[in-house]
Symmetry: C2
Subunit: 447 residues, 2 copies
């Protein structure tokens, strides 16, 4: 065809072997391409049509690859990479009280959060995660770290009702967090979520303030919910109501609420969440490693709840790896329900993409490959010996491939990974040395 | 020190940052090295001493690495790589009857087994697995494939009481298998195990013959055991005794017996296994994916049973990856028992090395880094962004690292992996093309 027909300019034309757009549901396309202009997906369609329609500055052919939406890590504590693997194999309470909390209180600072988040962002981006929801302290430092890596973030304005090095109380944490939100208002890769730590660690008064702010500022709310079995009983003893009843009384249980873990929901609590339009995040590796239990994810989905997947922090996982979370979500549901046919591969891929986008209220911009959405894209190569043969690329993404097979990652139309981390190289930041310096400091502090 | 003092020749001196010998139990050494001569570990000790004692032809410095014994995959069906991911997400019975068995019956041939096993061996070796126990048909083809990759194998003389393309009946399968064993008698990397498929698929008469052969030839016996809950009831209905009672009556329940899966053992059955000195193999990913259930591995170990880890075949996993099995064994036990402190990292590493060697009766040659044992060694690099920082290399091997961090693999003193698969390159075998040819044939056969 004559080149002159393709009159409209595009920035990038990506031509993968398989295109997994995640909308419409269940579609897996061959012979299709994606055109990008600026930060946005410009066109999706048969390669021949796109070749006729657009004149791209750059053409990327991916002959052995699946192209899918950038993965969304719906719950993490990014800076905790610096505590990766500390206190493994301890019972939950000892793990928190002996291994994690004392170290966090001693170490937490702007530098700790910036460096730890930089490490987390590098790990996540390299593994195909283009967006992370981060619940930690010093959100301004985290925002700078995510921005330095060119990754999209949803930053928690994290609130807990005891003093931390970051804030003396909940009011200070809220004030500081909202100031950061104002300062970063014009940065398109950053958004915010109110993040009360958990019903058991935040008072009625603080929860009420957060409910008011959420409504005034139209902010979502992410909160740890029923991760451990005793949370219901402790809440009944202390407040005379369950954690969900309490959140509901505060007016927090609505479409903007994102409950994390939710291992110990009853059937009637699932019904209440459906009625209120709340969303959930499943963290299968963390739930297994901390022996929290097996969440009833197939039931949540059947009931119509929007569900995302999260890695949790690197102290309880210890990988910020959504390929692992996808595989664990599938395997844990199957063995948990005693049914090999629950949560098939395509449904698992939804949890990591469009499902998470819906849970976060970001489905207008993220989670699928459609014209007008953000150009957050991941290419996974399936030509390695260990991924061969391939009968079904969706099954392979869940049960065979790992983050090590991610070849290319685009965030908002810019290629951030192409085999290696591009931005990191530009900045020439020796991330491993950074991590090792912190390890030495933290090990000294342990003794 | 003057070079002249080091008078004794060695082939290789490996100087890792951390040495994880697996014997003595719990040891993690720094400043230690390993010397190899021929196929055997010659010396293990402080690096300075070894430098004085030995004059190696080759020195390998691994400044960011853990060196550990080669991993042992105690149960797989290697050639099933060619069916990787076929029939995922189906209930167990439909998976076997619709997806797997008809295809195996239609496809199984010497070429299928050779090519599939070659693919499996490449995948396993690249991921740090130096020995695999293979339960499949055409053991001569499998032996050739493992030998072509320079990998150690324990080949099943597989017996099932229905006709297959390989053998019309159990007698033919046994005769063929024993002939292969005779032909390969002088190959040090190959040994054999009698492999009746399962109590439900092998008759009393055949089991009795196998018990006699096992005693006469001093061969171990590997058998699928209580993978599904209904096996006990079906056996009671058909034979008037449980699978274990039946094996015990045949005289098969002894130190040479290796039961695979054992998801549904009772307490008294565990006690019987201990009394008889039988061993078990745990396949956590397969047990999750097929919804078989959660094996009581912490109980087995507490009772003193020798336990190894297996990947099972690539149709039910779908990775032949012992790093994944280690992680899944730890995570599944924790959530299964509701205790975050069960199966700590060092115990998991034992399952993949010395534990498996004991289960297979090969602990005199394999499973730990000791002078006189086979020089089967794996180096894992822990300097990547996603493995940083590192407080405890054992925890990292189980919860952080993946097979993608394996840098070097030696089998019987010969380096088979150094970043890439060395032997594969020498032979210039286009393994991916091989797999894709089979995919095309198999997909045609499906329609």
């Amino acid at each position: 065809m004559p080149e002159s027909i393709a009159l409209q300019p595009a920035d990038v034309l990506i031509i993968p072997r398989w295109l997994l757009p995640m909308e419409p549901t269940g579609a897996l396309l061959t012979g299709h391409a994606v055109a990008i202009r600026g930060e946005t997906i410009l066109d999706v369609g048969p390669t021949e049509e796109l070749e006729r329609r657009w004149r791209p500055r750059e053409r990327v052919e991916l002959p052995d690859h699946v192209l899918l939406p950038g993965l969304i890590n719906a719950h993490t504590h990014a800076a905790m990479t610096l505590l990766r693997g500390i206190g493994d194999d301890l019972p939950l309470r000892r793990w928190l009280e002996e291994a994690i909390w004392p170290r966090e209180m001693a170490l937490m600072s702007e530098a700790f959060v910036y460096d730890g988040t930089l490490l987390a962002a590098a790990e996540m981006l390299r593994g195909g995660i283009t967006t992370a929801v981060d619940m930690y302290f010093y959100p301004e430092a985290a925002a700078r770290a995510f921005a330095a890596m060119g990754m999209r973030s949803v930053l928690g304005i994290t609130v807990i009702d005891f003093p931390t090095p970051y804030a003396a109380d909940a009011d200070e944490a809220l004030a500081k967090g909202l100031a950061v939100r104002d300062a970063w208002r014009d940065e398109p890769l950053v958004s915010f979520v109110l993040a009360p730590h958990a019903p058991y660690s935040v008072s009625d008064e603080t929860l009420e303030r957060i409910a008011t702010l959420a409504a005034q500022l139209d902010l979502p709310v992410q909160i740890h919910l029923l991760e451990a079995a005793q949370e219901r009983e402790e809440s009944l003893a202390r407040h005379g109501e369950t954690p969900l009843q309490r959140l509901d009384r505060m007016g927090l249980l609505g479409p903007g609420l994102i409950g994390v873990h939710a291992v110990h929901l009853t059937e009637s609590e699932i019904a209440l969440l459906v009625e209120r339009g709340a969303a959930l995040v499943h963290c299968p590796t963390s739930n297994m490693k901390l022996a929290s239990g097996i969440a009833a994810v197939p039931r949540w989905l059947e009931a119509g709840i929007a569900v995302g997947l999260g890695t949790d922090g690197a102290a309880s996982n210890n990988r910020l790896d959504l390929f692992q979370e996808m595989r664990h979500a599938a395997l844990l549901a199957k063995v948990g329900q005693g049914r090999a046919d629950v949560l098939p591969a395509m449904q698992i891929l939804e949890l990591a993409t469009i499902g998470a986008a819906r849970a976060l209220g970001l489905e207008h911009r993220l989670g699928s490959i459609r014209p007008g959405k953000a150009a957050d894209l991941v290419a996974v190569a399936l030509d390695a010996v260990e991924t061969q043969p391939c009968y079904d690329p969706c099954s392979h993404l869940v049960f065979v491939a790992g983050r090590e097979h991610v070849s290319d990652v685009w965030v908002a139309g810019r290629r951030r990974i192409s085999g290696k981390i591009l931005l990191l190289q530009e900045n020439n930041r020796p991330l491993s040395a950074l991590a090792q310096n912190w390890r030495q400091r933290i090990q000294l502090q342990i003794r």
